[in-house]
């Protein structure tokens, strides 16, 4: 029996192996159909229960691994013959939750998963989160584990914090830590111009950002828990931390010590700067690739912004993209490169900026967006999910693209304009 199950896993896994640049992807022939039931006591405010439901439904939809029923349904927690099958919906699964609060404010979510074909409880579990305003992360945790339960590719990125800077006025911006839906937001740096936040490590317990509030642009590292900051670098003209190595020990920075923006690698332990690129025009937006041995970056060395790569310590530059006439932002993961490209030669074209995906191993180019201005793409810790900034109808939003399912989702920012993101 175990052998058979392993074969099943292998078969389904092979369905997920694909070339992400090929647009038409048939991953699973049928997604498991799931409905959610709110079994919370009426003592809990209905608006909170509905907010929680909305995030959980959204998570399952964004995972792209479920056929989700949107309708808000209620039930008892124990269930009855009708509630455990919901026959008219022809479901495969039912996810039932019961929200409660402890005296200290901790939220408790009792969650039960039912097989809607048999009406039997498959599993049940209790989830907790200590602060009420973190409830989106409680929903994300449940979604991540449910996703794992059905053996689909991980969506653990949903649990990650997103950090972004938003413009609030001229020369004014704030840095905010949020969940990927922007339902949770906490401003961590305010006052003056604070830009380009970047997580310092995978644990997300510190971040870098550039402050324009001193005599010169200054890169700081901030401890998330204590709020204490440490000055890392100061530079003339401009200073941006564009990427952090996988071990957290090296930074890619764009700085201009002689009025000339070039890409450098900064070793935070040795406190040493190594110049990577050297060009009289613009080199910017560096990202580590190939086990942190190479840097992919944007340069106007052909007379327009395009994507190049260079081995650290070498002078040889390789052009990575042969499409578009203005490719001004890039992110790389394994063999995949995602970049933002302006569609017209003037700023008045109907189409504006779109995201494209290429593989360094094939010639395919896949267009990922079609409307609005789509900028600043960033891969998750997998090659299947890309976050980006979308400007549409004078509003900025956090966008999430699920490559495998060929779907894109947007989470608008109500106040301000997103300047840059990291996650």
């Amino acid at each position: 029996m175990i052998k058979k199950l392993l074969v099943c896993v292998a078969l389904v896994s092979s369905l997920f192996a694909y070339d992400a640049t090929v647009e038409i992807v048939k991953k699973m022939d049928k997604l498991p159909k799931i409905a959610l039931q709110d079994a919370s006591s009426s003592d809990i405010s209905q608006s909170f229960r509905k907010k929680f439901f909305k995030i959980l439904v959204g998570d399952l939809r964004v995972s792209s691994h479920f056929d989700v029923v949107d309708e808000y349904l209620t039930s008892s927690y124990d269930g009855n013959l009708e509630e455990n099958f919901l026959n008219e919906l022809k479901l495969d699964l039912i996810l039932r939750f019961n929200i409660d609060f402890e005296d200290d404010g901790t939220i408790i979510a009792k969650v039960k998963l039912l097989n809607a074909k048999s009406g039997q409880v498959d599993t049940q579990k209790i989830y907790k989160i200590s602060k009420q305003n973190r409830y989106p992360f409680l929903a994300h945790k449940i979604a991540v584990e449910l996703n794992n339960k059905i053996g689909a590719p991980s969506v653990k990125w949903m649990e990650q914090f997103v950090i972004f800077s938003k413009y609030t006025d001229s020369k004014k911006s704030e840095i905010v830590i949020a969940d990927y839906t922007l339902s949770f937001q906490k401003t961590v740096v305010k006052g003056g111009l604070n830009i380009f936040p970047k997580w310092a490590n995978k644990a997300q317990n510190a971040f870098y950002y550039t402050s324009y509030n001193g005599a010169k642009p200054t890169l700081y590292r901030v401890d998330v828990r204590s709020g204490k900051r440490k000055r890392m670098l100061t530079g003339d003209g401009m200073l941006v931390c564009s990427d952090v190595s996988s071990d957290g020990n090296k930074l890619i920075v764009t700085m201009a010590p002689n009025d000339q923006a070039d890409i450098y690698v900064y070793d935070i332990n040795k406190k040493e700067l190594e110049k990577v690129t050297s060009y009289s025009g613009i080199d910017v937006n560096g990202g580590f690739i190939d086990n942190d041995k190479r840097v992919v970056f944007v340069s106007d060395r052909l007379g327009y912004p395009n994507i190049f790569a260079q081995k650290i310590g070498s002078k040889s530059v390789e052009q990575m993209v042969y499409h578009g006439r203005n490719n001004n932002s890039v992110s790389a993961f394994d063999n995949y490169i995602v970049y933002s490209s302006r569609e017209k030669s003037s700023e008045f074209g109907r189409k504006t900026f779109n995201l494209y995906l290429i593989s360094t191993k094939t010639d395919y180019i896949r267009q990922l967006t079609a409307t609005g201005k789509n900028l600043y793409p960033r891969f998750a810790d997998d090659s299947e999910t890309i976050m980006f900034i979308k400007y549409y109808n004078n509003q900025s939003a956090l966008g999430v693209i699920r490559l495998n399912a060929n779907k894109s989702y947007h989470f608008p920012l109500k106040v301000g304009k997103i300047q840059s993101i990291d996650w």
């Binding site: 498991p32 579990k125 907790k128 200590s130 973190r134 053996g151 001193g214 004078n394």
Partner: protein, 188 residues
Amino acid sequence: MKLLLASLTLAMLIFTGCSQKNPDVDMTSKDGKSTEVSADKKADDISGMDSTNSTSTDMSKGTATNSVAKAIATLENSVNKIYFDFDKYDIRPDMESKIKENARLLNAMNAKDFSIKVEGNSDEWGTDEYNYALGLKRAKSVKESLISFGVNKERIMIVSFGESNPECKASNKACWDKNRRAEFKLLP
């Protein structure tokens, strides 16, 4: 259709049969009891800070006495802003005379002791990281042009504000034209 049913069956088999292989995410409870999971993140406590609580000098302000500040304000209002074409950082022919005029003003008796900060700016198009680099190139072009008109290079520093400092906030061509610019600040 067969494939459809087979896939669903496979998924259901995995759903019901494979959970015990992954104890980290196991939601099964053979004895009917529920297991507990904390969704608290490691970065449980997030502290905020006000970055203006800095001891260093604000880049946009100099420290000056009232009379000096007045002189600076008068001069800053007199110098021309230098505008650029879309996505360009070379000096437009129609801007050369403006820079020449600025060089004359900045070398005059009442200005020659001040340091000059050239601020490069961009419109809202494109990714901001590129725009900061573009703004810096614009400031650098202006600096080099000022030097060619006789301004001492030691007096000039440059900085880029990318798209963070628009002169005009509407989203139209006239506004974008105004935002692609270099401005001048004087420091005592």
